[in-house]
């Protein structure tokens, strides 16, 4: 069993099967072999594995990825979103944000060296994604205001913020300030706000911009890698 078998499983659209193969490799040949194999994965392949994992069962690749591989995989995320319209409401944006959170959090939180968190904080878009994570989550402002890392819910943005607070309290404060600035606490209190207001608030605009940047980046990669032209369908009389 080698990378080609794993690659074939991914190509066949079965990341679960590829994941099982990685687990078998780790079991039969040890972590060193698995690490060598992970080193050969392309960013798109890494992204497929990360999409497959979740917090309760992160992908086998998580522990062996380099920072570059993780960040490159992140730039492949959101390729299917396309243009996020101004008419797309908060609900849709929150769903996309949830997708991003499910993609990054297991990997960020399961790596004890916190290298990927540092890499994201060093990257403009990465940092914005971290700022976006708490926006509009239940009780996010109260939680941030009276932040208690011991109360952070595992596998969520709260745990990520707790880790960041421990890593670098200054950065934590700066992120928290940014989230406050984007929050619509005044608007939230006004129950009579119209539907349009929901699309105009700073938080929603920030969320849309951030997700759009992620999507644009991923689309560029998707275009660059799709060397094969779509098969043309020939039309003839019935």
């Amino acid at each position: 069993m080698n990378i080609l078998t794993v690659r074939e499983a991914l190509k066949a659209g079965s990341p679960q099967s590829a994941e099982r193969q990685l687990a078998k490799i780790a079991n039969d040949h040890g972590d060193d072999t698995l690490a060598l194999l992970v080193a050969d994965l392309t960013p798109g392949e890494v992204a497929s594995f990360l999409e497959e994992g979740d917090y309760s069962k992160p992908s086998e690749v998580t522990q062996f990825l380099t920072t570059e591989q993780f960040m490159e995989a992140l730039t492949r995320f959101g390729a299917k979103w396309g243009k996020i319209n101004k008419n797309d409401g908060r609900e849709l944006l929150l769903r996309l944000k949830e997708d991003v959170a499910t993609f990054i959090l297991p990997t960020l939180l399961h790596r004890e060296d916190h290298l990927f968190i540092k890499a994201m904080l060093d990257n403009t878009l990465g940092e914005d994604i971290i700022v976006a994570l708490p926006l509009y989550e239940t009780g996010y402002l109260d939680f941030l205001r009276e932040f208690d890392s011991g109360m952070a819910q595992k596998g969520t943005w709260q745990e990520l913020y707790a880790v960041i607070q421990e890593m670098d309290p200054k950065i934590f404060k700066s992120l928290r300030k940014h989230v406050y600035e984007l929050s619509d606490h005044q608007a939230d209190e006004d129950e009579e706000q119209d539907e349009d207001a929901d699309r105009k608030t700073e938080g929603v605009k920030f969320l849309r911009r951030t997700l759009q940047r992620l999507s644009d980046q991923a689309s560029k990669h998707a275009e660059a890698s799709s060397g094969v032209e779509e098969t043309e369908d020939v039309f003839r009389g019935i």
């Binding site: 299917k80 409401g89 609900e91 996309l96 369908d233 009389g237 019935i238």
Partner: protein
């Protein structure tokens, strides 16, 4: 009996705001492809009872030439008006949908005409236009 409104409802169901435009389009075209692939396994009763459901599979896979023959067919979709469409090369079908179309005709001519008529009525739907691939005319293809 299914009408073009039924077909439109099916189409619009994919664009209900829970996904981005592109995600919806991918889901819609993916469903179209699934239906198209399953048409050769559909029986005569199903074709007759669920024509809008079947028509989904042909969306974006047909080309129509505007004119009186097409209008007549839409008003009265039967084998006689289908013959007129053929004579005047009013409809072209994509090669990828040819087995499905052949199955429709071979299994239930009446239902095939109804399904084609539904597709004709939905031809200007913005989502259907978006489904259509870059077409190569027969002359270019040969």
């Amino acid at each position: 009996m299914d009408t073009v409104e039924t077909l439109n409802e099916y189409i619009e169901g994919y664009f209900n705001g829970t996904k981005t435009e592109r995600e919806s389009m991918l889901a819609f075209s993916g469903y179209r492809d699934d239906v198209l692939a399953s048409i050769p396994g559909m029986n005569s009763d199903f074709l007759e009872q669920q024509p809008a459901c079947v028509a989904i599979g042909l969306l974006g896979k047909l080309e129509f030439k505007e004119g009186a023959h097409l209008n007549s067919f839409v008003v009265r979709p039967d084998m006689d008006s289908l013959a007129k469409l053929r004579e005047n090369v009013v409809v072209n079908v994509a090669d990828s949908a040819r087995p499905a179309w052949a199955h429709l005709l071979a299994t239930n001519e009446k239902a095939a005409c109804t399904i084609l008529s539904l597709c004709a009525q939905a031809r200007k739907h913005v989502r259907v236009i978006a489904l259509k691939p870059k077409a190569k005319k027969m002359s270019e293809a040969q």
